[in-house]
């Protein structure tokens, strides 16, 4: 998933992955642009959520076959404490990879892994490759832009 690591979003977040003997550790180095509450210099909840989702996605792709891809269904984030303007780390754990679905849990921390700041549960739909994934296709046009009564009848004659 080097493409993910090189995307504009990843570089905006300064997203990095470190392989350790005890699994991957994900990190971001946030700056002023990622602050949600300027009064206490707390990171924006959406930034924490986005980071956890990227980490979950990355972990999942490490476990999928090369032509495997995934599409996020939903994400549920719990904010355990306020995240400060400081490096944020995360570890992801794959709860289950099925034939069509996958579930990944993530935990984020700052000073110490024993003192987590957020946790997330992400669900993914598995697809064959980026070409067939919804992510590779622009939003579909409206089915009947002129309403149902103006639907083409070309096939009838």
């Amino acid at each position: 998933m080097t493409a993910l690591a090189e995307s504009p979003l990843s570089s905006w977040l300064c997203f990095t992955v470190r392989e350790t003997s005890d699994g991957r550790i994900y990190a971001i180095a946030p700056g002023d642009a990622h602050v949600g509450n300027p009064l206490i210099k707390a990171l924006h909840g959406g930034i924490v959520s986005t980071f956890l989702e990227i980490a979950a996605h990355h972990e999942l792709h490490g476990a999928l076959p090369p032509d495997g891809d995934s599409e996020a269904i939903n994400i549920n984030v719990d904010y355990l404490k306020s995240a400060k303007l400081a490096p944020l780390f995360a570890r992801a754990r794959i709860a289950k990879i099925g034939r069509r679905l996958a579930f990944v849990d993530c935990i984020a921390w700052q000073e110490s892994e024993d003192n987590p700041v957020a946790k997330a549960a992400c669900s993914f739909c598995l697809v064959k490759s980026a070409a067939t994934s919804l992510a590779g296709v622009p939003p579909a046009p409206r089915e009947n832009p002129g309403g149902a009564f103006f639907h083409s009848t070309d096939g009838d004659s």
């Binding site: 090189e6 504009p8 002023d32 959406g46 959520s49 939903n74 984030v77 306020s82 622009p138 409206r142």
Partner: protein
Amino acid sequence: MIGTVPKPISTPPVSSNWTGVMETFFSGSHHLFAALRMKPTKVDADGVSVIATIPEVFSQAATGNLAHRGAYTIILDTFFGFAVFARLQTPKAIATINLRTEYLRPVEIGERIICTAECHALDEPVARVRGEIVDYDGRPLASATGAFMIGSSGPDFPAFDREAFAR
């Protein structure tokens, strides 16, 4: 708190310029909110509505012009907070407890989206918010529910001082 009678929620007079307050907050020196170019169209106790733009920073090399769906969570977390302020009619310090986001449809960078939210349950210190993001054709892009802690440890927002904004 068990056994105590809940205190009645005081309702201060409704500010005549809440939309202006929200607009100033979104477009001010705040990097993230400025990038989202949020424009409130409704700020009431029964709900808020905001027009936002998906910022460039959410682009991903692998998916062409489509934004990472994390953009939805940033926008949702932001305007859900405003739905709480609008319900309380005062900008107290709040913190997100949790946020569940359903990703319904991808969105392109630069696309304008319409976000609506209501704080449908207020039981201090917890406020619940639900809302959705749709595109300009009315197609749902994301829906979400969130819980917020009112009176979190941080200071209240002085930027929301009504008297300052009345000038």
